[in-house]
């Protein structure tokens, strides 16, 4: 089994953005941790706060963001929130790195890819481009790029979408970081390419033992990759658990909704695709009590009075709900 050594620990992370119509609470009291070598998926709709949470870890949110005082992100024992820019610079791209959704717009169109991959090596290890060249070729081989020597001088527009995302992965892994944040790494790619990229990531994870924080709204990707799942809704974590219990026995009605809105080929073909009614609440006017109450079919008076806390359950997970689901949902198990 894995050694359960904590790499990253986020505690009471709370952040808001000042806007002209008041402060928008982007994330509210988010706590979670990532162990060494673990792949944790952060799941949620757009606007659920998953990207803000991830960008907080690498310190790349817009500078206007304001963190609450007791927010704490501890990485290898160092607090990243209070860290000075010059120290943070040594961590970014070196110990924590990130890959993004759209590899074409995330690569500089005017620089050859070899130089772009070499940049973090030059920066953090002080090597010249010539000296880092061997490492770059090695990285390109690892992410499965054929004839890497010939690709060094190629520009992003000369490569396919899958190749570009491989380049991004090579760039992120250039300095052997211990945490990789992957923000919807396959969303912008063709389905056939998605599987290839996930394979590359999984292989590299096995080889290097890197921890991955995977942000996605694609439950297929979650099932394929993750050890543990965090479900976010309205800026809060509403459910946490290992990937099997989440898929087989979701406790939170929102998680259940997410799982049942995945289209299925087997069975139930006469049924229409299920959706979660309504939309994500406006972060400027969050309801009193549970954020999900307006869209939840199990909601009672209690839900509109008090917001539920994230509490541990018997399945070794956590859920924030007054009426956590009990029975195993057959329709859902079909998916896994």
């Amino acid at each position: 089994m894995k050694n359960r050594e904590k790499l990253l620990e986020v505690k009471h992370l709370q952040a808001c953005f000042p806007t002209q119509r008041g402060e928008v609470k982007a994330i509210n009291d988010v706590s979670f941790s990532i162990d060494k070598g673990e792949i944790v998926a952060l799941v949620g709709e757009s606007g659920s706060g998953k990207s803000v949470t991830a960008l907080s870890v690498i310190g790349l949110n817009t500078p206007s963001i304001k963190y609450e005082k007791n927010s704490d992100i501890s990485f290898k024992g160092k607090n990243l929130i209070s860290m000075k820019k010059k120290q943070m610079k040594k961590i970014r791209g070196n110990e924590i790195s990130m890959i993004f959704q759209d590899p074409l717009s995330s690569l500089n169109p005017l620089h050859p890819i070899g130089r772009q991959i070499a940049e973090p090596i030059q920066l953090h290890q002080g090597l010249s481009y010539i000296k880092s060249r061997e490492k770059v070729i090695d990285l390109l081989k690892k992410v499965g790029i054929p004839e890497p020597e010939k690709r060094l001088k190629d520009y992003p527009h000369q490569l396919s979408g899958g190749m570009r995302q491989r380049i991004m992965i090579a760039m992120a892994l250039a300095c052997n970081p211990s945490l990789l944040i992957a923000d919807e790494p396959t969303t912008a790619l063709d389905v056939t390419i998605q599987a290839q990229i996930l394979n590359v990531m999984r292989e590299l994870q096995k080889d290097t033992g890197i921890s991955i924080l995977l942000i996605t709204h694609d439950l297929g990707v979650v099932a394929e990759m993750a050890d543990r799942v965090l479900v976010m809704y309205g800026g809060e974590i509403v459910e946490e658990g290992d990937v099997f219990s989440i898929f087989q026995n979701p406790k939170h009605p929102y998680t259940e909704g997410l799982l049942s809105s995945v289209p299925k080929l087997r069975g139930a073909s006469e049924n229409r695709l299920r959706t979660i009614p309504g939309t994500v609440p406006n972060p400027l006017e969050l309801p009193k009590g549970c954020n999900f109450q307006t869209r939840c079919s199990y909601a009672t008076e209690q839900c509109s009075d008090l917001s539920p806390q994230l509490v541990s359950n018997e399945m070794n997970g956590k859920v924030a709900c007054w009426h956590p689901l009990e029975k195993v949902n057959k329709k859902v198990t079909n998916f896994v």
Partner: protein, 315 residues
Amino acid sequence: MFFKFLFRRLFYVIPMLLITTLVVFSLILLIPGDPALALLGDNATEEKLTLLRAQLGLDQPIMLQYWSWLTHAVQGDLGRSLFTGEFVSEAVFSRLGVTFQVVATAMVISFILGLLFAITSVIKPNSWIDYLARFFGVLGTAIPNFWLAMILVVIFSVNLGWLPATGFTSITEHPVGFFKSVLLPAFCLGSFGAAQITRQLRSSLLEVLESDYIRTAYSKGLLLWPVIWRHGLRNALLPVVTTAGLLFGNMLGATVVIESVFAIPGMGQLAVHSILQRDFPMLQGVVLIMVLMILIINFITDVIYGMLDPRIEFE
């Protein structure tokens, strides 16, 4: 590949030159006034005037005049001045260097000031330096250059006596003298360009700094300055290259005024004299060379663009 591109671009230049010279030729004849009258004076008899017009070929239809000018021009003969008898080609080329030195200096000033203002204003948005840069952007565009020229002459030449008010020294003759004589006119020409470049670069830099690959650059651990220097500036300069090409043409036109104010013996001054004297062959020569220069600059702009942006291929 590149030579094919070069060849094709040269091919475009020929019809371009034909059209522009024809238009200019026709426009010149619309200028009120008669060169024969200007040459012989008000007391000339009608006979003498007719004779002179016939000698100069001015009595022929426009198309014929243009044809005869064109056939000579392709052989390198741009004719002679109606007044001094100088060869037009010699007169124009002797002044071309002067104008080129002034405009090139103005271009350098535009770029230095533009880059300086744009970058500082982007680094500290909504700071006093940002407001100063934006104010300069409006001011440089709005102030007429001849007015600026006169104000600067009053301050730096008349009152302070630091710089000469008129005249020009070539860089090959006396570099320090060149610098002194070129500073005021080049600044007057360049202030508009600097303002344009500031505005353009500021907005394109702001746009570029919002893009995904800048976020990637930060995620590698780069800080603001290296991000701007390595990833922001080159991308942001792409639209500026186009602006700079247009500016060059703009400045060339503005030399007509600036060279007159500072009494610089360049193309602009030659153009003004030729118009005042109705010296048509000379004026046609000046315009031809100016058009040629602008076409060359457009070509250079395209080449620079292709060098900066690998997505553009020379086809």
